[in-house]
Symmetry: C2
């Protein structure tokens, strides 16, 4: 696991938050959204069905439980949960909390507009709130 490296484009666009049972959890560096990316720690898997049945279920469980937790805590209007991979084919799951007044609403966030990076203080604060939330979730 220590040898796992996400795709360099995912690393460039996001911050690491923590390691979940299956996935490396990262936060997109865009202060306009609470936008998480879950990356199963396999470097050469592109589609969900390439995972074992157990890992497929674990990926969904990690994404949906995180989604429920951030929607309750950050009070968004709608969750968008998606695996696309048209640009970065390494399997990763987006969990994005949407608000009716966000820049891309009601369209998708992917490719909509340039990210507005967090300041280091903002990033540290959101990350600490996420870590506290994650401590309340049973992942198994």
């Amino acid at each position: 696991m220590s040898s796992f490296e996400p795709d360099t484009r995912l690393i460039a666009d996001s911050y690491p938050v923590t390691e979940l049972p299956l996935c490396q959890l990262r936060m997109m560096n865009d202060q306009r959204y609470v936008w998480l990316v879950l990356i199963p720690r396999y470097e050469h898997i592109h589609e969900v069905h390439e995972l074992s049945a157990a890992d497929q279920q674990q990926l969904w469980q990690e994404g949906t439980r995180l989604g429920q937790a951030i929607q309750a805590h950050f009070e968004g209007d709608k969750l968008n949960i998606a695996t696309l991979g048209n640009v970065v084919s390494q399997l990763h799951l987006h969990v994005v909390l949407r608000n009716q007044d966000d820049p891309a609403w009601p369209g998708p966030v992917w490719g909509h507009s340039q990210a507005e990076p967090y300041t280091s203080d903002q990033q540290a604060e959101v990350r600490s709130r996420l870590l506290a939330l994650i401590d309340t979730i049973d992942w198994e």
Copy 2:
């Protein structure tokens, strides 16, 4: 189940294909994509985490197994699997087979451009191919 009615906008944009154990399976009426929509037969659920744990897993299983089957049969480059609901909030899962030469590639299909409806012959042919594929899948 017979009383279930999808949101009228989903009905307007898609054709019914069949009923899966959890979801009504529909095909978006856009001949440019193999684009399926799975709608759990509950009219007032908006987020995945509002489903029971068993239904959450069944939704994912139906979407990922269909995705694997259409990618093998229709030979696409990438699967996009997403639940968004920013426009139609009734819970539904998109399973879209993408190709590097499709109109929206590599961007998302949602909101990209006006659909090009199937002719009735095309729609019947794709639907029959989907039904034959679905007969080969174990849903439980």
